[in-house]
Structures are given as C-alpha cells and as structure tokens.
Symmetry: C2
Subunit: 397 residues, 2 copies
C-alpha cells in the first residue's frame, strides 16, 4: 500500500515539509510502516524549477475529490481559507495535520469534532512550539498525571529581542530592528511583540490540558514593547531574567487562569536559560513534579518536522485518537480573570521612594525590588500607582 | 470493558505506580478509553495496612495464568527474575511496561522480538530519564528526522554531586556523602558514580535511535570520581560546567560512537543549566536542529508517571508498535571505539608548563586551558602524558 498525501501551501513551512519528506522518505516510510508519497501541493504560484514541480495544483478540489489522498498537511496559515479546506478534508475522512495556530486557537473544537465524526484525525503538534514535541507528550506520555500548570516561552521573536537586550545591552527598538533584519520578525511585528502569537499557543495548550476550548479573546495578553533595558538589567541583579511567559494554571476552585505577559524568571529556573529564538514549555504535574520541553519554536525544517511527525501518526492511526481533543465552550465562566493572578512582583519606583524593603537595588533609573509577599494583579496595579512605579512585572512562581 | 493490570514489585517505583494509579484513576481511564484496575501486585513482603492489601500475591503464576490481566508493569529491577517474568508475560500476549534499565539494556532486543511475535508490546519509557518523555518522542514525534546525535545527563546522583561541587564548593567526597544522606545515592554508589547507570540508559537510546542492540560492555564508561573541585572551578572560569554526559553520535561512515564520560558543557548550552538531581536529553537531528527534554530522572512518582503512561499506551494499542524496536546485533562492528572520539579538550597542567596558548587560566592548582583544535581521544591522552596533565576532559560540541 502506498499512502498519498497532500500539502496545502508551499510557503516556508509547506516547502519545508516537501524538502524534509523527500530527504528522509525512506526512514519516514519505515516509521509509518508503509510507502508514502506527496501527490499534490496546493499553491497559487508556479514553481517550475523544483524537482517535484509536477505535483503542484492550483485547484483544491483536485485534492478533496481524490480518494487516494488520505492525509493532508495544512501549511497555509490564517483562518480562511484554511478552515474551509481543512473542514472539507476531514468531512471526507482525510486526516489533517496543521502548523496553523490561528486556525487551531479559533476553530480547534469544531475541527476536532468533525474529525471524530468522520473517523479521522486533526493533529496540530506543529502549532505550538514548532519543532518541540509538546502536544503528544501532554496527552500521551503524561496521561497518568494531573497537570496543575503550564508555563512557556512560546514566541521566538520576543525571546530573541529580550536575549539581545540582556546579552548585548540593546534597546527594545534596536533589538526589534535586528530581529527584522534577520527575518525573525515580520515587517509588522505586532502579533509577536504584543503577545498575540503566544496567546494563541497557550489557548491551544489550555484547551488540550483542561478539556474545554479557550478563546484568545478571553485571555489577558500583554507584550514586551514597554520593557525597558534598565528593567532587564535590574531583574538580572535581583536574580531573574525577563521573559515573555504564556501560562495557564488551575485555581483551587477548578477554574483556569491563562495569561500572556512579561514575567521575571529566577536564574534557578531552567527556563531562564532559554535564549535567542528558542522556545520552551514547562509542565507542572503531580506525578512528574516538573518537566521542560525545549527547541526551535519556528522555522522551515523545525516546523516541517512536527507537521510530518503528525502525518506519520495520521497514517498509522486508522481511528480517531480520542485523548487529543476538547469540548466546545459555550460560556467562558471556567476562565478566571487576570485580576485573580497572585504572584510576587518586581517594581521599579522613583529613587526617593521610601516604601521599599530590604534587598532593593538603587541606581539612576530608580529603585528596583521584588515584593516579599504575593499580591493579586489588581493589588499590584494599585500599589504601582501609589508608588508612581515605572515598572511592575510579576515573578513566575 | 475493564482492563486488569498487574504490578510486579512493590518497592519505590511499584508503590508509586499503585499510588498514582489510585489517585488519578478517573483521568487515567479517560485517557485509556476504558475502565482499568490493578488486580495483582506481586511482592514477597506483606503490606496489611494498605487500602489495596487484598491485591497482593506472592505467586507470579497467579498473574501469568490469569487471562484477564492484559497489561503488566514491571518494577522489580535487576535482570533476574525480571527477565523470566517479563518474557513469560509477553509470551502470553500480555503487554509489559518497565522501569528496569538493566533489563532493557541487557535483553531489550529479545523482549521486543518476543512482544512482536505475540502481538503485544514491551514498553520502557521509564527506563531512561525517569519522568521525562523521551522514548516516545524519539520514535514518534521526531519520526521525520534523521537523528545525528543524542547527549544526555542521565544520572541524577552524579548531577547532584557535580552541582554541589559547583554551587557549594564541596569536595566530591563530601557531596557524595550528602547525596547518600538525602537518599539520592546508594550505600554502594558505584553504579551511579562510575557511570554504569548512565551507560545502560545511553545503550537503550542508541539501540532505539540507530536500530541495533548496543550492549553496555561495548560502551566506554568513565565516571566522576576523579573530578577535582579545582577542575569544576576552572571550567567555570573558562565558560563551562562539568557534567557526566552520556552520548551517542553517528560517524561519517555510519558506525556509531556511544560513550559515558565527564565533559565540559558550555554555559551557552541549555544543558549546562541542568542541575541537582534533574536529568536532560539533548537530541540533534536534521529537521529540528536540536531539542531538549528535561525533568526528574528518578524518584517514586516521576518514574511511576512514565510506567503508567506506558501502561495506558499498552491498553490503547492492540497491536505491536513497530516503530519502537531494534534488531539483535550478533557482532558489534557498528560500534566505534572511543579512540575515535574527536573533541576539543580541557587540560589542567602544572603551572610552569610552557605549552599552553592564549586564554589559559593560572592559579595554584595549575594552568587550565581548552584546546583550539579537536583531538581524538588517543591524541588527547598522549598530549596529557606529554604535558604531565592533572586533568584531561573533552568538551561537548
């Protein structure tokens, strides 16, 4: 038997899927247990010089109506037309593997239900953490655990910028410019810099771990554009690195609190050493205590690796993998507001501020300290106003 | 349907399996897709006060001959009688999940073949890296990759000792004594300290990744008992941490080179930040570039988490998972000798030694430096003799 697959989109990720597939075809087939081939690549552009140029089509219906195609890799990005295409494939019983976090965060519940209904699979390992195996470990390897909290560095662009600020004393603006020059940041960097990309990813993790669809619009999201160089330096002196952390934790009453915001991560925490464009996900659970998964969160071949890993799983699984799913959520009362976030906080206040305790650090930029007690988000904002604070950042517990 | 499982051994790991199973029974059953129960626990001792004391048996045949038992967790440790029991279970078509690295490193090929023959599974996620999901990610999530190299901190005891030497300026002897007091090291610490435990684990990884059984006796193994405090300090000044690294790489001619030895790990490498009893595995491959898996490498519940994750997989998979296997190896010509290891090397030589280049660090303990060029293992040993070196340690590339 030879399994025919189709790749939707021949951009960065889609071309990586084709490249890695043809490079490692033999061992991929060995892992899948059968012969495999890419029968179609969907793209509106022409690629006449590629060795596999004869596989391109501009017509999605060629793929949809070919019963020989049983597995599809969706690498187009964006909600539409990806959603329409993916849904149509699943309705025909074709399993789909995607790298599209926007799609999964917006429509994951519907697509998972569609896959179940049609006895196929909707896989999305590549949508969170790029190359890092995290989706499958969460619902399979850690299946015996009760997971309390997940905290991740889920956006490579912002982590690169923060690393440059820390290592090379660059300002946010200069580091962003460098990231754009190196191709790590888009011309319009809003989605990365303001945390929206990380937000989609923590929504996917939250939905998978806690079983109900969490929508990006219900998740407090703050980016790194207000982070000052002096805060990165002061945090270091106080024993911490500043990272954009996307996290979710379960509260005592069973509700969950997902959020995305800059946080101080102790140098004692392995996550503080995650630098440059690398991503990492820390999982806290009752059996394992904690485990971290680290790797490249984006890029052509790293993302392709995750997409193809899913395609191989899709080929091996003839039935829907029921542990990798979640329900739709009509109301969002199970998602707590960020006002309930409780943490120690880093403050930078004017030098002459008297209300700071021991261990504070003073220089021309102000006085920096970390509170000894936990404050809620609301309490911290009130305190920041009271002290005329220039910065107020929570510390990852 | 209710699946009945048996636990062989009620020591640290076995009692952890029972504890975690009963604690998270509901969600475990949800992940497995069916009801589950522990029907037997095999132990020669009595545990009359446990709430599940009625499930104990001293007779292995009770388990073997009960057709209702379809999944077995082996947590006894050691090659015998574990090997006899596990083989007998597999021959009856009962899937076995084990935490026993000695067993897998010595008999993995035979047990995998037995499982295949009887259409069941032999799983061993818990045998490497404790709680860390590494076996399943290697053969499933990274299935589209060509893996070049794996390097791991696979022994928590030695990592604890090296961390204490680094952080607290403790001597090897004092740190070992503390590890014993805390229960991290055995009374006879040889297996940990001399690298034999890490060796078994890299044998399992090597066998899985490269497809042929690698035996511990063919793997160069050196422990940390000769590491001096001044080498840990000098390595730090030269930008590195000393770690006991178990690694395997594929050479240009296709042979593989597994080995266990202390190595210098650059502070730039995320693995340098893996401290205390934590373990980590770095995987280098063509698709992902590199990825690291980090967590607790031992302990009651962490190991139980991995065993139970496997038990759940065994319940879900009615057929043998063919990607998680390797062949027997009648000859070991595919395993290269450590003489071929090529690396930069750290040397500590007498203070008055003239043959050192720039960047060397001098103090009363000698002169420390890292070579600018790579040397083979044999060349490094020759150079060490020539320079009357007090220490000679390779640098992880």
């Amino acid at each position: 038997m030879s399994v025919k697959i189709a790749v939707l989109g021949h951009g960065v990720v889609g071309s990586g899927v084709a490249e890695l597939f043809f490079k490692n075809k033999k061992s991929i087939e060995k892992h899948a247990g059968c012969e495999m081939d890419i029968k179609y690549i969907l793209d509106l552009r022409d690629f006449p010089d590629l060795p596999y140029s004869n596989r391109f089509t501009k017509n999605f219906d060629d793929i949809l109506n070919d019963d020989e195609v049983t597995a599809v890799a969706e690498c187009m990005g964006g909600v539409e037309p990806a959603y329409t295409f993916v849904k149509a494939c699943l309705e025909k019983g074709k399993s789909v593997s995607t790298s599209n976090k926007e799609l999964v965060a917006a429509k994951g519940d519907i697509l998972l239900a569609t896959a179940k209904e049609h006895n196929c699979n909707f896989f999305f390992e590549a949508s969170v953490g790029g190359a890092i195996p995290i989706i499958r470990p969460l619902h399979r390897c850690l299946a015996a655990n009760d997971i309390d909290k997940v905290a991740g560095i889920l956006n490579g662009t912002t982590n690169f910028i923060l690393t440059k600020m820390y290592n090379d004393n660059m300002s946010f603006e200069d580091a962003l410019k460098l990231a754009q020059e190196l191709g790590y940041a888009e011309k319009d960097p809003t989605a990365d810099v303001e945390g929206h990309d990380a937000c989609r990813k923590i929504c996917i993790i939250s939905s998978l771990v806690f079983g109900k669809h969490v929508y990006p619009e219900n998740v407090y999201t703050k980016g790194i554009s207000e982070i000052q160089l002096c805060d990165v330096a002061d945090a270091d002196i106080l024993g911490h690195a500043v990272k954009l952390v996307a996290s979710v934790r379960r509260l005592a009453d069973g509700r969950i609190l997902p959020c995305v915001m800059p946080m101080l991560v102790s140098h004692e925490n392995i996550m503080a050493g995650v630098n440059d464009v690398f991503n990492a996900v820390l999982v806290y659970a009752d059996g394992i205590d904690k485990a971290m998964f680290y790797g490249r969160g984006a890029g052509k071949l790293p993302t392709a690796s995750a997409v193809l890993g899913d395609v191989i799983e899709a080929v091996k699984h003839k039935v829907t993998v029921f542990s990798q799913t979640w329900e739709s959520s009509a109301d969002n009362s199970f998602v707590a507001s960020v006002d309930e976030l409780s943490a120690k906080w880093y403050f930078r206040v004017p030098v002459d501020c008297k209300a700071v305790g021991e261990g504070a650090y003073r220089d021309d930029n102000g006085t920096s300290f970390i509170t000894t007690k936990e404050l809620t988000f609301t309490q911290a904002k009130e305190k920041a106003e009271e002290l005329n604070a220039m910065a107020c950042i929570p510390v990852l517990e």
